[in-house]
């Protein structure tokens, strides 16, 4: 069993999982309860446009995706705030635009060596030491933000207009939150992939809400679920030589539906 750990890339992927899992567990809580599940998908897919921009202009795709996604997330928040267009519509447009932009730029650049599949579905071989350092820095910043603003985020998520009238700077808080969401999504793309990373902002809190009616309980369960599913998914993907992101999401969905079924059976008795 321990032979999995003899390869350094597995160590690096495992450390990445341990860094990212709690972040998704906590982020997911606010995304699901604000009914912004589609937002994760929108930001993740806009990363494809960002990656392609990097490939096209010959700069680090990770950096270009980072800037592109944070910019897209903050812009989406601002545009929706003006009330001219809904999140759903805007994300739907951005989603398609970014994928199309990515495909066109990669075709123009004729980047045959570009690992498209790795970006779309994740590749544990792609996780580098540099990625780990960036992920650790992002997670430290997020924990600081979370510790300072948990109760404000809770109020904002529960009832935004009243939070605003109660003296909370909701616009700033929302911008920071969306920026962290974009940062964490981009950091995790190499491991999980663009197409599947959006599942990680939905599944953890959905699982937690099945088992707890207290916000602390939901957050603890979300973090526990994400840690378990990502670690197990990584191991299974290694042993069966499967894409890690797909394996993690399949496993996570399976666990969610099993617990949902058990809960239904228990509550019906």
């Amino acid at each position: 069993m321990m032979d999995i750990l003899q390869f350094s890339f597995v160590y690096q992927a495992l450390i990445m999982v341990l860094i990212l899992a709690p972040l998704f567990g906590l982020l997911s809580f606010f995304i699901v309860l604000r009914r912004l599940s589609f937002l994760g998908a929108g930001i993740a897919h806009s990363a494809f446009g960002g990656v392609a921009l990097g490939v096209f202009f010959g700069i680090n795709p990770f950096l270009s995706a980072l800037v592109f996604c944070v910019f897209a997330a903050v812009c989406m928040g601002r545009i929706v705030k003006r009330g001219q267009i809904s999140y759903d519509t805007l994300i739907g447009i951005l989603f398609a635009f970014s994928m199309a932009l990515g495909a066109v730029l990669i075709a123009l650049r004729k980047a045959y060596t570009f690992d498209l599949s790795g970006y779309l579905f994740g590749n544990i071989l792609a996780v580098t030491l540099q990625d780990l350092i960036v992920a650790a820095a992002v997670s430290l910043l997020f924990y600081l933000f979370f510790a300072l603003t948990l109760n404000r985020l809770l109020f904002l998520t529960f009832e935004q207009p009243v939070a605003q009238l109660s003296g909370i700077r909701t616009e700033l808080l929302e911008t920071l939150f969306l920026s962290f969401l974009a940062l964490i999504i981009v950091v995790s793309i190499k491991l999980v992939g663009i197409i599947l990373v959006s599942a990680l902002v939905v599944l953890p809190a959905s699982f937690g809400l099945l088992l707890s009616k207290r916000y602390r309980g939901v957050m603890v369960l979300s973090v526990f679920y994400t840690l378990t599913v990502l670690t197990a998914g990584l191991a299974v993907s290694y042993w069966l030589d499967l894409p890690p992101g797909s394996t993690m999401v399949l496993l996570g969905s399976l666990v969610y539906f099993i617990v949902l079924l058990i809960r239904r059976i228990v509550s019906s008795h």
Binding site: T149, N151, R152, F158, V162
Partner: protein, 250 residues
């Protein structure tokens, strides 16, 4: 509000509205759906800017109150996610956390205040219950408690009686009167229900884009006003202290 006009996309929503609420007074603005009631509240809290006229809340521009929490605001309850994993007490604590600096814990006086306001609205024994599992009337009382926890000087309520049965409405309005008496708050609520509300408020205003009546509910509403506001004929009976059928209210 002094001769306030509000438009959405060139469509007039409020026309020439002049309205005042005094401390220790409950004013209800009634009118049909789409008559501009929520817009009136939104303009009072600064979410909507009038294109003409002047609004002063506690002598200041509405936006000036955002940093201070001087306005207790209860929007319509139907947009709250009932699955939200918080207890009644958690909901009230949100207001106290909003008054503290980011990252700060609540102080003993905050906990005392939370207990006091929950007690005041008769929800102390339900404080550990999941908010979504409470009845509509209980949820409204918790939200009133949260508004009170901010120590506001004015309470604004948007359709607070929606979804409540007659008994729950009675209890809710009685709590509002008790709060008014105890804290001396100015309370302004909007409602499409002119029936029950008129027995509990100090003044009544009828709104359908324009303000058609503004006075005490016991004053005779001029003939034709309700027809103008609601668009149909009305037989309106006020059940108050003088009502021979109901008898005096305790």
């Amino acid at each position: 509000m002094d001769h306030v006009w509000v438009r959405y996309h060139e469509r007039p929503v409020l026309e020439d509205i002049s309205l005042t609420v005094e401390p220790g007074e409950i004013l209800s603005v009634v009118g049909p759906n789409g008559g501009g009631k929520t817009t009136l509240l939104h303009s009072l809290v600064g979410f909507v800017q009038p294109f003409q006229g002047r609004i002063r809340v506690l002598g200041k521009d509405p936006s000036a109150h955002r940093q201070r929490g001087e306005i207790g605001y209860l929007p319509q309850i139907n947009h709250i996610n009932r699955l939200f994993p918080v207890s009644a007490e958690d909901v009230v604590k949100m207001a106290r956390y909003a008054r503290r600096k980011p990252g700060c814990r609540l102080k003993p006086e905050d906990h005392r205040r939370v207990s006091n306001v929950l007690e005041r609205v008769g929800m102390a024994q339900w404080k550990h219950y999941h908010f979504g599992s409470l009845s509509g009337g209980q949820q409204q009382r918790v939200l009133i408690a949260r508004a009170l926890a901010l120590d506001p000087q004015i309470l604004l309520l948007d359709e607070p009686s929606t979804g409540l049965d007659a008994v729950a409405q009675d209890t809710f309005y009685q709590i509002l009167r008790d709060i008014r008496d105890e804290y001396g708050l100015a309370i302004l609520m909007v409602s499409h229900d002119i029936g029950t509300v008129s027995a509990f408020v100090d003044r009544l205003a009828c709104l359908n884009t324009r303000l058609h009546f503004h006075g005490k509910p016991k004053d005779c509403i001029p003939s034709g006003v309700l027809e103008k506001v609601f668009g149909s004929r009305f037989n309106f009976v006020v059940h108050d202290e003088q009502c021979e059928t109901c008898g005096p209210r305790s």
